[in-house]
């Protein structure tokens, strides 16, 4: 290649950094949503690069359902401290106290309470006018149509038919009081780009992404973690399975895949030949309440 042509990863990196700098320059009170997953890890790494040599000019906000994996909490607390980031954790304590659980409420209602409502409350409490998130357009069909700077009304809702046109890399950051923008700095990255970049940049990720023997139950085509007895339905018996997670969400609702890839090189190789999409392991995507519906309501 010509020595003045950037590689695709360098191009994507430069774009993401440009986006985050626009956010910090134009908004009064931005925040970065941090879900502890691989996409969040890449986004956070890009943010550190964007504002180097200065510190991160915003806090990280983790919307916690209480059902994340133990390894995710450990990683989150260790990494935030390691890089000196300010971490805010928000939970819908009322719903958690009432015992909200997907097996009890159904996935849609559980997500609505522990994720969508918790996120909207956290954004309102913090008075944030911009929230950066690690969603990618290649993940899901409604996300393919979302802007990088995605306008939300005062109720945090998305109106897919009435989005602001987005041209060149000139972003309209203007909002009225109470309105906000969700910003997706890694919109144009694919799953493959994420893994290649994690490898290239040595970005720390939660160990759950690496294969090892874990106690799991087989439910239909899904492998559900059995680390918490509450995840099991009557009659289900855990067994040890060599597996890893392609995406991370709440433990009762995140499936693993059979895999022996226990290094980043092997994960990249496996992703290159994957024939099934990563969202297939997320129970949240399979109900009648689609991502489009959830996003309209304010889901991340």
């Amino acid at each position: 290649m010509d020595n003045k042509t950037l590689t695709h990863l360098q191009t994507l990196e430069a774009e993401s950094i440009h986006i985050m700098r626009e956010v910090v320059a134009e908004f009064r009170n931005p925040v970065m949503l941090y879900s502890v997953g691989k996409d969040s890890s890449v986004m956070l790494h890009l943010a550190r690069k964007a504002f180097h040599p200065g510190p991160l000019p915003f806090a990280l906000l983790h919307v916690d359902t209480g059902y994340k994996f133990k390894e995710m909490y450990e990683f989150r607390d260790w990494y935030a401290k390691e890089i000196g980031a300010r971490l805010i954790v928000h939970r819908n304590e009322e719903a958690i106290a009432q015992g909200a659980h997907p097996l009890k409420l159904g996935v849609a209602r559980c997500c609505g309470a522990l994720k969508t409502k918790a996120l909207l409350d956290a954004l309102e409490e913090g008075g944030y006018d911009a929230a950066m998130g690690g969603a990618r357009r290649d993940e899901e069909r409604s996300r393919a149509k979302e802007r990088i700077f995605s306008f939300r009304d005062e109720f945090g809702q998305w109106d897919p038919k009435n989005q602001r046109p987005e041209l060149w890399d000139i972003y309209n950051c203007r909002v009225h009081e109470g309105e906000s923008i969700r910003v997706f700095p890694i919109s144009n990255w694919t799953e493959m780009d994420i893994w290649q970049y994690i490898k290239l940049e040595n970005i720390p990720i939660v160990p759950l992404y690496y294969a090892k023997e874990r106690p799991m139950v087989k439910r239909g085509a899904m492998l559900i973690p059995a680390d918490d007895a509450g995840n099991l339905k009557p009659g289900e018996v855990p067994e040890n399975v060599m597996c890893r997670f392609r995406t991370l969400g709440c433990s009762p609702c995140t499936g693993a895949v059979y895999s022996s890839a226990d290094t980043i090189e092997q994960i990249v190789a496996e992703s290159a030949v994957a024939t099934r999409s990563e969202r297939e392991t997320r129970i949240i995507d399979h109900g009648s309440n689609t991502m489009e519906d959830k996003k309209k309501e304010g889901y991340f």
Binding site: T5, E15, A25, P165, N172, T190, L200
Partner: protein, 428 residues
């Protein structure tokens, strides 16, 4: 793992090409994108199964290809595409981003949006119908938005018996009309394809031995990705001034931004616009360490030899290669909102990193995007209309003609009451 897959995972150093597709559902645009995704394995089995499942219910052959790119429920119900969608695929040679835009007249604004960041445009023509009004519209918009490569994909060749005569006729018709557009530069390539059967998209197929040019994918893999960027003129709009004021960085003052065009070296003499202050580049700071040279489209942090009063919205350029500094602009404008553009009304203009108040002083002409005739002094510019306007700014901006530099020649128009993006402009 086969050879292609192995190459793919090792190919972390390929370039990125962005392209847009113009055409309506009837031209087979969704089928073509579906074909590209399926034949390059840019789609997963579970997504393909879901689309095939719907196809079985509807019964149309090959419909799953189009269904793959359906986005929203509203669109599936109405069988239309309402907005720009972005798709991704990769080959061992390149990564691709498709801006998938609907081609109907009422969606000119979406096509303009998709075209704004593209290196290449695919204009689809139905071989049975030939060059239509909409083909002209698509070609005009592609060139107006400065896309360096245009690929005219003559589709549905399977429905005209893969006739070379028909291909040649359409090629001639398009070239005749394109020559009259009067755009300088750019490159047009013609490829006969069948998106449904796959001929000349990713594989050559057996039906068109008379065609010796590149397949569509070969074209996508070889078109230059530098064409979008101006390599000569260094332009650095300041996004954010970094002053960490920590103990070890007490006096650090860095100008963060992206090099929109050209390149810069430590020691270069620079001028800050619009103020005209001068200095020299002291360092180019990145996470990886300091660089001696940086080039577009890198995001970097510059420090200068002298303390200068520089803020967001300023532009750092080479002292011996400066853009214009203007308070009055002449621009081509695409209107994007239901409320028409009115002369005399105040708007905000966001250009690079500066946002300034502006008033449209004159509506000079409107381009009929179907006949490409100029209509002088229109009373207003409605949604999806394109025209030439005069604009007066409250403060001057540093800018180039869009034809010379897409990054410093383009701007958006914002309604400062509703905050909506209502127009897109290209400085002349």
């Amino acid at each position: 793992m086969n050879a292609i897959d192995k190459n793919l995972f090792e190919a972390a150093d390929t370039a990125l090409l962005r392209f847009t597709t113009a055409g309506s559902v009837d031209d087979g645009k969704s089928t073509l994108i579906g074909r590209l995704l399926v034949d390059t394995k840019g789609v997963f089995e579970d997504q393909l199964d879901a689309a095939k499942n719907v196809e079985d219910k509807k019964g149309a052959k090959g419909a799953h290809l189009a269904l793959l790119t359906d986005g929203l429920q509203a669109e599936r119900e109405q069988g239309i595409t309402i907005d720009v969608a972005y798709r991704y695929f990769a080959t061992p040679k390149r990564k691709f981003i498709i801006a998938d835009t609907p081609g109907h007249e009422q969606y000119t604004r979406n096509m303009v949006t998709g075209a704004s960041s593209a290196h290449l445009a695919i204009i689809l023509i139905d071989a049975r119908k030939g060059v239509l009004t909409q083909s002209r519209r698509h070609a005009y918009i592609s060139r107006l938005l400065g896309i360096p490569h245009i690929v005219v994909a003559i589709n549905k060749m399977d429905l005209v018996d893969y006739s070379q005569e028909i291909y040649e006729q359409i090629r001639q018709d398009f070239s005749d009309f394109y020559g009259k557009l009067g755009f300088i530069g750019g490159e047009v390539t013609f490829i006969p394809i069948s998106a449904l059967e796959g001929d000349m998209v990713v594989t050559r197929g057996d039906h068109m031995p008379w065609y010796e040019g590149q397949t569509l994918l070969e074209k996508l893999e070889s078109a230059s990705v530098e064409g979008k960027l101006n390599a000569e003129d260094f332009r650095f709009p300041v996004q954010y001034v970094s002053r960490p004021q920590t103990e070890e960085l007490h006096d650090f003052r860095g100008y963060m931004g992206r090099i929109e065009s050209g390149s810069v070296k430590v020691g270069d003499a620079v001028t800050v616009l619009p103020s005209g202050l001068t200095s020299k580049i002291k360092s180019i700071v990145t996470w990886e360490g300091e660089l001696t040279e940086a080039y577009a489209p890198m995001s970097v942090t510059l420090t200068l030899e002298d303390e200068r009063d520089i803020s967001r919205g300023d532009m750092i350029v080479h002292s011996d290669n400066q853009p214009r500094v203007e308070k009055e602009l002449s621009a081509m404008l695409c209107w994007m909102h239901e409320t028409p553009l009115q002369a005399g009304k105040k708007y905000l203009i966001k250009h690079a990193t500066s946002t300034v108040k502006a008033v449209v002083t004159a509506l000079e002409q409107r381009v009929d995007i179907n006949t490409l005739e100029d209509i002088p002094a229109p009373p207003e510019l409605k949604m999806n209309e394109i025209g030439k306007v005069g604009i007066k700014l409250l403060k001057p901006i540093a800018c180039d003609a869009y034809a010379d530099n897409r990054a410093t020649g383009g701007f958006i128009v914002i309604d400062d009451f509703t905050n909506m993006t209502v127009g897109a402009g290209m400085i002349q």
